[in-house]
């Protein structure tokens, strides 16, 4: 699990107020909220639609999820019966 702290200086660079939040907060606001114009906006990682995932489940970083996807896709496939 990872809940990365992102530095205020990095994220608050464009504004006068200090920004203070974690990766979970970032995912919540940027991936889970906001206007969706088209159905194509559904975001999927490892063939799972994130929009339909509770954020309590998404406690790893997106990059970690992608790495996990890459690892699982490189595993030998079980032979068909």
């Amino acid at each position: 699990m990872e809940e990365a702290s992102l530095s205020g200086s990095l994220l608050g660079a464009s504004g006068g107020d200090q920004a203070d939040f974690s990766l979970v907060d970032l995912v919540d606001h940027v991936l889970n909220k906001g206007v969706v114009l088209v159905g194509d906006a559904t975001i999927a990682i490892a063939d799972v639609d994130l929009i339909y995932l509770g954020l309590n489940i998404l406690l790893t970083s997106v990059e970690s999820a992608r790495e996990a996807q890459h690892r699982s896709s490189s595993l030998p496939q079980e032979p068909a019966r």
Partner: protein, 221 residues
Amino acid sequence: MMYVYAAVPAGTTAPSETGIDGSRVSVIEAGGLGLVVSDHAAPLVPTRRRLIEHHRVNMALANAGAVLPFRFGNVFAEPDQLLSSVAMRRAELSSKLQRLAGLVELTVRITSSGEASPIDSHDEPDETPGRRYLLAKRRELDEAGRRERQLKLAGDRVLAALAGLIEDHCSETRGRQLMLALLLRRQDISCARTRLEEIENVAEDGCAWTVSGPWAPSSFA
């Protein structure tokens, strides 16, 4: 492909921030709205860096004026597709944008203390396994009710402390957490944080809080 960050009032200039993957951000006009976009060769897979880049563009816009933030991942193969999608929802988008002008979001995440009773509790060894299970389940439900009341009280205390500062709020319970999204004027952020720190220092409800933001007002988009 055209990636969309946000809607802004027509005539808004593009932010100086670079967009996702270092792309140039521009504003195109559609139906009386400005759409903040960047060009990309393919749909964008979300990564932490890209989420931050999306957020930074929207915060630059929020700090400059009105912004209606879009969720990460709104991508259009052709500009015409984007323009027709916006045209269908122009009135709704314009109304929301007008409402959010000058406002940003703070999020308070309140976490209830204490753990629920374990379901396999052995407090009553003389009971049958089925009865023991049901008693444990009842304790678990009682605990969940206690947590819910605890979170509501803490949430009400936050809202009371910020009376006069917040324009709107919405909340969502997720297990042991209450997510409270607060809509307020940009210039009131420091004051709101100070008030939150003051009541947090005297909190007696056993809840832990974290305050994040400011955000572009995505919970109200």
